[in-house]
């Protein structure tokens, strides 16, 4: 029994990160129908923002060598601020890489490339400014919390519990906002049909900005939490999560918020189920599972098959 609990704890803690990451993809996809490939870079930035806001100093290999903010905030304050800073970056990406194409009526597919370009520029900018070395949010950010706790016979790192809890709160808050608020419903309307929503008086452009801002906020929070849980392994560390987030997005169903959550948790659990001796192959299991699901259900677990208009 304790083995099963341990497996669940391992899977959920990993899956929560994937879910949080994929939600950002989903928000943008739901309103624009394209994937924002700069999302991984925003996630990475969130980790760096958090690192600097808690008083971290840049290493010796970038233009900002030795740079340190004059403040050292507690992690609980630094994390949401990093989320907001990441949201601002995401809004900038929308302004630079998405809006001009939209205004020119370009094929949405082109936004894949511009967002990819924006992501590459951001990652290289990070490297130029703070070098390629690894950074880590000090374990002291956890204050007096124990390093690990026992839950129902299983053991889990406290930071993973924090991560899981924050992710759960954000997911619930986002769902409540989308389902229960006027602006959330407006976002859904834009996601359903932007042109019709505009005709009904809903400012589509503003809703798209909100989607990007929220997406960036979630990415920043996820980056900060992952940075706390493991290290920030250089400017490229969001790439692996980005790929996994894409898998989660597709598994859950493109554009489905609840699907992103479910997909993230399933991938996390699937990875946790891989026998420890074979855990080096867990990506094969995760993507193999994704492959099988898509063969049986191409729209993903909670995706909808849209009727073809003739």
């Amino acid at each position: 029994m304790s083995d099963l609990i341990q497996l669940l704890l391992n899977g959920l803690s990993t899956g929560a990160v994937y879910a949080l990451f994929a939600l950002g993809y989903t928000l943008v996809f739901s309103v624009l129908g394209v994937i924002n490939f700069a999302h991984g870079a925003v996630f990475t930035l969130g980790a760096y923002f958090t690192f600097f806001l808690i008083g971290g100093a840049a290493g010796a290999n970038g233009l900002l060598a030795g740079f340190q903010l004059p403040v050292a905030l507690p992690f609980a304050l630094a994390l949401p601020l990093a989320g907001l800073a990441s949201a601002a970056v995401a809004l900038g990406i929308e302004r630079i890489a998405f809006r001009p194409l939209r205004e020119h009526g370009a094929d949405p597919l082109l936004a894949l490339i511009t967002s990819l370009g924006a992501g590459v520029v951001l990652v290289n900018l990070i490297q130029l400014l703070v070098g390629a070395e690894s950074y880590a949010i000090p374990t002291s950010a956890m204050r007096d919390l124990p390093a690990a706790i026992r839950l129902w016979g299983g053991q889990v790192r406290t930071v993973q519990v924090v991560l899981l809890s924050v992710a759960a709160v954000l997911l619930v808050a986002l769902s409540l906002w989308i389902d229960g608020s006027r602006s959330g419903k407006a976002l859904r309307a834009v996601a359903e049909d932007a042109t019709t929503a505009q005709l009904l008086g809903i400012p589509s452009g503003r809703m798209i900005q909100i989607a990007f801002g929220l997406s960036g906020f979630l990415a920043g929070i996820a980056g900060g939490l992952v940075g706390l849980s493991v290290s920030i392994a250089g400017p490229y560390f969001g790439i692996g999560y980005g790929l996994k987030g894409l898998g989660v997005l597709v598994l859950g169903g493109l554009g489905s918020i609840s699907g992103a959550v479910l997909g993230g948790l399933i991938i996390g659990l699937a990875e946790a189920c891989v026998p420890a001796e074979l855990s080096g192959y867990r990506d094969v299991v995760a993507y193999g599972f994704l492959f099988v699901v898509l063969l049986l259900r191409p729209q993903g677990l909670l995706g909808k098959v849209l009727p073809t208009k003739v």
Binding site: A60, V226, L278
Partner: protein, 414 residues
């Protein structure tokens, strides 16, 4: 004199593009069976050209940073002492990233630039990819940090100053058993997608077997892994009292931290991949107590090492950042450039470089490298005819973290 150092922003991309262009040029040249650069005279206008291929970005950047410092210190020392018989040494460092294609591109670029020798690449995995290019083109390579079995065997032009893992790794296992004779249950982790890790874990596992210890579990990870909760849960359920890691700095640092956070209190032996102070920010206070075998001691009382330590300390005092005690990788990189520079000095005295073609200089330089004996920070070293380093002194160190867990040192064990 001077270092021609490219910005990390564009270095790697530019390397790939330039390498492609130059490879194209090389292809055209090969169609006519000519290598214009190799057949031309050695270009000494800006100094004697030596290249380096280092992992300054990607997961292995933690090693490249240490190595760059060592090369720059050696460059300053060599040129301060008159360079190559009056001509300054010119060092061009190229970022290879941490993968094979990056190493191939950077190596090709350095060769096509007419470098007489190349120091690097950082990772054994990269060396297995990029060194055959140098071997085919007849360019001497001195590896400062490749420890996997089979590196010098790639070919005549490939040598290393980093002792092979089969020489060093068993020492830390022996020390762990000496410190804690009651060890009975060993667990092993290694990165299955990395040549160094797979080579070193075989050595570790043989060393354990020689001591009568069969691992209770062997866990395979990947270099890009950061979350090891599942593997650790499974491992700790088997109650090991010794855990042996063959991992790189970032993944290894994260694993150590998570092992300790999840309650493992036993001995941890780590391999050469974690032989850098750059692991301190990753595993932080949990780095404390790690056992590691080393090919370098800052305490070695030889004039060469004392001069190196003095230069290192002065540099760190000026910058105010980084470790205060030289890491092994820095010492090995320093040694690699020293070896190349001294071999160039001898060659230039016998046959002035300006009278040689690049190809002839490269070939003669390789013979000089293999034929010499060098007083280095690592102690006296020389090479087997195959290019394997012959070194006398090895050590075992234990990581001691300072209060606060932000900095520490490798404390040598008696």
């Amino acid at each position: 004199m001077g270092v021609s150092m490219r910005s990390p922003l564009c270095g790697r991309t530019a390397a790939v593009v330039l390498a492609s262009v130059l490879s194209g040029a090389g292809l055209v040249a090969s169609c006519s069976n000519r290598d214009a650069v190799a057949e031309g005279p050695v270009n000494l206008n800006a100094g004697v050209p030596v290249g380096a291929v280092l992992a300054l970005s990607g997961n292995a950047n933690v090693y490249g940073q240490d190595q760059r410092l060592g090369l720059n210190l050696a460059l300053a020392a060599m040129n301060g002492g008159g360079g190559i018989n009056g001509t300054p040494l010119r060092l061009a460092i190229e970022d290879s990233g941490s993968d094979d294609p990056g190493a191939n591109a950077a190596m090709t670029l350095q060769i096509n630039r007419g470098m007489l020798a190349v120091i690097g690449p950082t990772l054994s995995q990269q060396a297995f990819a990029a060194d055959p290019i140098a071997q085919r083109r007849g360019v001497p390579v001195v590896a400062p940090s490749n420890t996997a079995k089979g590196i010098p065997q790639i070919g005549h032009f490939i040598s290393r100053v980093s002792a092979a893992s089969y020489v060093i790794a068993p020492l830390s296992i022996a020390k762990a058993l000496q410190l804690q004779p009651g060890i009975q249950r060993a667990a092993v982790f290694f990165a299955q997608d990395d040549a160094y890790s797979t080579a070193e874990t075989a050595v570790f596992q043989k060393a354990l077997a020689d001591k009568g210890l069969k691992p209770v579990t062997v866990q395979r990870t990947n270099l890009a892994d950061t979350d090891f909760q599942s593997q650790i849960s499974a491992t700790l359920a088997l109650k090991p009292d010794l855990i042996v890691l063959s991992l790189q700095g970032v993944d290894g640092g994260n694993l150590v931290r998570q092992l300790r956070e999840l309650g493992y209190k036993g001995t941890i032996v780590v391999g050469n991949g974690m032989n850098t102070p750059n692991i301190y920010p990753i595993c932080q206070k949990y780095c404390d107590g790690l056992l590691i075998a080393q090919a370098y001691s800052p305490e070695l009382a030889t004039p060469a090492n004392q001069a190196f330590v003095k230069a290192f300390t002065a540099n760190q005092s000026r910058s105010g950042k980084g470790p205060k005690i030289p890491p092994q990788l820095t010492a090995q990189a320093y040694t690699a450039l020293q070896v190349v520079a001294e071999a160039l000095q001898r060659l230039d005295k016998r046959q002035p470089l300006k009278t040689l073609t690049v190809a002839a200089a490269r070939k003669a330089l390789m013979d000089e490298i293999l034929g010499g004996t060098y007083q280095t920070p690592l102690g006296e070293i020389r090479f087997t005819p195959e290019g394997e380093v012959i070194q006398k002194d090895f050590f075992v160190a234990q990581v001691r973290m300072n209060p606060g867990g932000r900095s520490g040192r490798f404390a040598l064990l008696p």
